[in-house]
């Protein structure tokens, strides 16, 4: 948490105080995981002094070094490429404003990751709320007496590494196909690893609403994967 002093300051600059609180908490868990990979980015340290001095060339280096990875993160939240690129730009603007207070005790990449997630959420929140998109066709159907119309079959194990990789690619593209309201909850809970309360605060929902949306999102994802995962069985 102490490492997050700088990011905390940065995120204060953005509207939505609840968001920073949320993200600061996650950062603590994620930082731990990422610390092992410290070596790949230690040249960021050299950049930092120049960045803080307001060196534009250094900022360009920062953008070129991190934009691709951060754009991938933004694309998880937005199906539309323009939206993802907008969120990325907002994130770098926020980072630029907040650099002076960045203390360098968190990794720049971790700090930027938080900021881009934050700018995606701000962008999602600022939109006029659209009516809940229809997820119905992706949910299991039941007969009058309560049994499934198409009873669930067991899934196979993915023992083969190649197949596991292919399935992961499939999972990513299916998540992309989920309506935004469900996708966002799934990304925050299952991928960004916020807990229910943090997700509820970030999205302005009740905790139960988060749980139900997450359930629907997982159900839909399960349904999309079902043909693939039962396919290998006779």
């Amino acid at each position: 948490m102490i490492a997050w002093g700088a990011a905390r300051h940065a995120l204060w600059l953005l509207p939505g105080v609840a968001l920073w609180a949320t993200l600061a908490v996650v950062s603590a868990t994620r930082l731990g995981k990422q610390e092992d990979r410290m070596d790949e980015n230690d040249c960021d340290g050299l950049l930092l002094e120049r960045l803080k001095a307001g060196d534009d060339a250094a900022f360009e280096v920062l953008v070129r070094r991190h934009a691709a990875r951060l754009l991938c993160v933004a694309r998880r939240f937005f199906r539309n490429e323009d939206d993802a690129q907008d969120a990325l730009q907002d994130a770098f603007l926020s980072a630029h404003r907040a650099l002076a207070s960045f203390q360098g005790d968190a990794r720049l990449s971790t700090w930027l990751h938080r900021i881009v997630v934050n700018s995606c959420l701000m962008k999602l929140r600022s939109r006029r709320r659209r009516p809940e998109e229809e997820l119905e066709p992706l949910l299991p159907q039941f007969l009058e007496e309560g049994h499934q119309v198409r009873p669930s079959l067991p899934w196979r194990d993915l023992s083969d590494e190649l197949e596991r990789k292919a399935t992961c690619g499939m999972v990513r593209s299916f998540i992309e196909r989920l309506p935004a309201t469900y996708r966002t909850v799934l990304l925050l809970r299952d991928i960004e690893e916020l807990d229910t309360k943090e997700t509820a605060d970030a999205l302005g929902l009740t905790e139960n609403a988060v749980k139900i949306r997450l359930h629907r999102a997982r159900q839909a994802l399960r349904q999309l994967l079902d043909p693939h995962m039962t396919g290998g069985l006779s």
């Binding site: 990422q34 990979r37 790949e40 534009d56 900022f59 360009e60 953008v63 070129r64 934009a67 691709a68 990875r69 754009l71 991938c72 998880r76 690129q85 990325l88 730009q89 770098f92 603007l93 630029h96 299991p140 039941f142 007496e145 309560g146 049994h147 499934q148 009873p151 669930s152 079959l153 067991p154 899934w155 596991r164 399935t167 992961c168 690619g169 999972v171 990513r172 998540i175 799934l186 299952d190 991928i191 229910t196 749980k211 139900i212 997450l214 359930h215 997982r218 159900q219 994802l221 399960r222 994967l225 079902d226 995962m229």
Partner: protein
């Protein structure tokens, strides 16, 4: 008093069981249904596997980035920064 859940109820309220919100009799209703219904066993196992696959799908993505960012995007960002 433990009720018999239908498969529809089981699947609809499964999140309460998965999240640990269902306690006592409510949890036992889920367990009793599972003990008697192979279809819902398949459903839950697939559901849990879905959760795992969701995590796995994004796990090793942070190291190498497959794609370049379009030059226009980089320039757009830098221009926006200069404007302040």
């Amino acid at each position: 008093m433990i009720r018999n859940l239908t498969c529809g109820e089981f699947v609809e309220f499964l999140w309460r069981y998965i999240e640990g919100d269902a306690e006592g009799d409510e949890a036992r209703e889920f367990e009793r249904h599972l003990a008697a219904c192979p279809t819902c066993v398949s459903y839950v196992n697939g559901y849990r596997q879905t959760m795992k696959l969701g995590k796995m799908a994004f796990e090793n993505l942070e190291a190498p980035v497959p794609e370049e960012v379009p030059e226009g995007v980089v320039r757009g960002i830098l221009a926006a920064i200069r404007k302040g």
